[in-house]
């Protein structure tokens, strides 16, 4: 399978959108393109299992390597392992439902879908890159569309949020940049340097260099995934963004950071990852608890989901910081699960908002009676968020807790317990929000006139719910997909705590 297709298809779709006339053509092309992406991603999953079943044990499959800037040893190098496949699947699910949710985008629709699809191209490229330069290139490709998406189509104090988000993410990529340059100049292949991820992983980066550049890379990527105290762009950015952009932001963009922390920071600088594990865990635990309590105080549905995203992404960082095979598997599962879940959450909020024109919990009520489908979606996603067995959130968080407990350090176990305890808080705010909005009496008489979800919204929700259920009920396929990848990372860090 040629991985370039996953970049080419979004690119061609984005270009085709520019030449369309009218909303109908634009959205048809966008849907076609994102449908193709979904098919490609599912095909990739199938072919990946096929190759593995045929006994192909090489670390990365379907590699494609092209010498891009030869004098600097910069390659356009693509390849996937299980972790990448999982992230690609997530991206394709979120993209198609994002397109479906924006079906009746009325202002500047051409530009909107162009930016949306362009963003997805950056995400695919990022998840497939095996060269740090290519990776950085795609990481930044995915930033600027967000600025425009929020600033032009957003609501509330959109310009402020867009600027804040763009600057913080650009600050993150500046830090990543310093980390990458540091890695580059500490590699040595017969006097030359390299950006190639696999080559760097095979050579020993001097420990002092690791200690120096790990914080740059980790914090840089961490900003993307709402690492405390660099999480402040998340609530503003998410709440100001239009629905589809919120879905992309929380569902895809925050995962770029988690993936980068894992693949670049932890995998390439294992000694430093061990040395800094305590700090990572501390920050992750703070993010989990702080996020959960901050959510309690929110009255706006989008803010509720944004703050709970901080808390949920804290679990990802916690899993990475614990450095056991199972916790890292859990971290990746949490990324996939949270991506699907939060995208669905934002989709549901968007559907409610487009009808009731309010996102305030206090003003909503009794929606189950007027829009049963949307309310059902809302309840499902809420339950997933608080970790109900049978849905993806439970599987992922449980894996992280089990993996974290394997780390015998007492303080780390305290952190694990604290993180577990946050689930109770999650239950409080989720049940309160869903109960108030969905159940109870209808608070506003004009709600009676509102209709339920349209076909496109239903399809979008169903696609994401299928994903959530597929992980929740049958977690094994995802686990088997990710485990070889996380095993590789643990082998790299050279210390498997299970064996101790």
């Amino acid at each position: 399978m040629n991985l370039n297709l996953l970049i080419l298809i979004p690119f061609l779709t984005a270009m085709a959108v520019l030449f369309c006339k009218g909303l109908k053509q634009v959205r048809a092309v966008a849907l076609l393109g994102s449908g193709l992406q979904l098919i490609l991603a599912l095909g990739l999953l199938y072919r990946f299992y096929d190759e593995r079943a045929a006994g192909n044990l090489s670390q990365m499959l379907f590699e494609f390597n092209y010498h891009w800037f030869a004098p600097l040893n910069i390659n356009y190098h693509l390849g996937v392992d299980g972790i990448s496949v999982a992230m690609i699947l997530l991206t394709s699910f979120v993209v198609i439902s994002g397109v479906l949710v924006s079906w009746s985008m009325d202002t500047l629709n051409k530009e909107f879908f162009f930016l949306l699809i362009f963003l997805s191209m950056g995400a695919y490229g990022f998840f497939m890159s095996l060269d740090l330069f290519t990776m950085f290139f795609f990481l930044e490709v995915a930033v600027i569309p967000k600025f425009l998406l929020i600033g032009i189509w957003g609501s509330g104090k959109k310009e402020y949020s867009a600027m804040k988000l763009a600057l913080m993410l650009m600050g993150g990529s500046a830090l990543v940049f310093v980390g990458l340059i540091g890695l580059y100049f500490n590699t040595n292949i017969e006097g030359a340097h390299t950006f190639d991820l696999l080559q760097i992983s095979k050579m020993k980066i001097p420990v002092e260099a690791q200690m120096l550049f790990f914080p740059f890379a980790f914090i840089g990527f961490g900003i993307f995934t709402a690492l405390f105290p660099f999480h402040t762009w998340v609530p503003d950015g998410h709440s100001s963004a239009p629905t589809a952009a919120s879905m992309f932001l929380a569902g895809i963009s925050m995962k770029l950071g988690g993936y980068g922390c894992l693949r670049v920071a932890t995998y390439l600088m294992p000694e430093a990852a061990h040395a800094y594990a305590g700090i990572i865990i501390l920050l992750a635990t703070i993010a989990i608890i702080y996020g959960a309590f901050a959510t309690l105080m929110q009255t706006d549905l989008k803010y509720i989901n944004a703050y709970s995203s901080i808390s949920h992404c804290g679990f990802v960082l916690l899993g990475i910081g614990m450095l056991t095979q199972i916790s890292i598997t859990g971290a990746v599962m949490q990324m996939v699960s949270h991506g699907l879940m939060t995208a669905l959450f934002f989709a549901a909020i968007g559907m409610i908002y487009s009808r009731t024109h309010t996102r305030m919990v206090a003003q909503l009520g009794g929606l189950l009676k007027v829009m049963p489908f949307i309310s059902a979606v809302f309840v499902i996603v809420g339950l997933c968020s608080l970790g109900l067995p049978g849905l993806s959130g439970f599987v992922a968080e449980m894996t992280i807790f089990v993996g974290s407990w394997q780390n015998p350090d007492v303080l780390y176990r305290v952190a694990t317990i604290l993180a577990c305890a946050s689930i109770v808080v999650t239950a409080v705010y989720i049940l309160r929000a869903t109960g108030k909005t969905v159940l109870g009496p209808i608070t506003d008489t004009h709600f009676n006139k509102l209709g339920d979800a349209l076909w496109n919204e239903k399809l979008a929700a169903v696609i994401l719910i299928v994903g959530i259920m597929a992980i929740g009920i049958l977690p094994f396929w995802l686990n088997d997909l990710i485990t070889p990848g996380s095993q590789q990372i643990i082998l790299q860090t050279g210390q498997n705590i299970m064996l101790k």
Binding site: F69, L72, I181
Partner: protein, 470 residues
Amino acid sequence: MILNDIFILMKQELMLLGIIMILLIIKVGKDWSNESLLNLINALLLINVMSGFMMPAEGFLFGDMFKTNSLITLEKNILNIGTLIISLQSYSWLKNHKHLIEFYILMLSTLLGMFYMVSSGNLLMFYLGLELSTIPLAAMANFDLEKRKSSEAALKFIISSAFSSGLLLFGISLLYGTAGTLSFTEITSHLTNTPLQIFSFVLILAGFSFKISVVPFHFWTADVYEGSPVAVTSYLSVISKGAVLFVFVSVLYTVFKPLAEVWYNMLFLLSVLTIVIGNLFALRQDNIKRFLAFSSIAQVGFILVGISGSSQMGTASVIYFVLIYIFSNLGAFGVVSLVSAIAGKENISDYRAFYKTNPFLSWVLTIALFSLAGVPPTAGFFGKFFLLIAGAEQGNYILIAIAALNMVISFYYYLRIVKSIFMDPNEHPIEKLTIPMMPKIALFICLAGIVVIGLWSSIYEYIYSLSTGF
């Protein structure tokens, strides 16, 4: 056969001289209409650009005074392309100008001076070329004949450049006193790190810094950029700066190589200062020309980061960046000059809701600004990345960290304009502009350059392979 050599080695200079002569003859002869003149001149400039790529040659003339090789030919070609784009862009402004031919004669003489400067193998020749490229520029800055600001700009420019030329000349004479020669190849072996030589180097460095507006020698930049006509501003910020940078790189890496330790630290300090001050002043400008002036100061700071690397990577990345910078900056100036010539507006606040009325121009300006800011997939991303890689080669990560953080600041002010264009409401946006043919072609050339130069790696590889040349 010496005459033959002159024709082959100096063909680019002779081409320019030929065009200047044609223009002089037209000036003396009967009156042409401005439009047919512009068509003719642009056709001549196009021929000039194309002829630059033909018959590359290498060699020395006049006892090493004048040299050329593939790298120098490439540099001249880059300047030629930039001049053509500027000429196409200023169509709307020049169409109604009385002194069109004089403008072109002046502009092409400065270009000729830059060619001599780039080709010089001797400090005397270099100084001659520099003066030829500077003095007509002051007259060009005064070309908005009715505007007081324009003459003010011209006066400021001539005073500051006379001062910097004085410094440069003083440095050159001191160097001559200690080394006993002015030839680039011979000076190097006479450099022995004596205090007097270092002092003379500092003076020469200051002279250069004036020309490329490095902080703290940048004070003339903003006023001159603001007062001059847009065509001259873009010429100043792109072509004249680019030419001096080309010479600066080669002089540092070849002539002053023995003083590398001295200039490395100076460049470190100057680049940090230039980036930071350029950025901070760019933050709060409202006039878009002043804004571009300060942003170009910051860009020069990034270029200095690249220069502080090793010779091959440094040279390659600087030339590559200047090439990209020409296309990106001219993309931005192209839109600015159209708006200024047709609507007469030059403030960033005038650009609010520009997208509603002029979507095409908005996208060009946005993409150009993204390229200046260094956002992928535009070429600016690659240019900045390679400059910083070159700068990091010496292991100076502090410099890289400062530069990377300053890139974030620069994002803020570039995005501020994008925000005005796309997001801010405006009761009276700039009306829909009809873009004449020639500026449109120029804008498309800029767009193509911004997209292609980055993604198509062969261009960088070509420049890299030439950069061993000296």
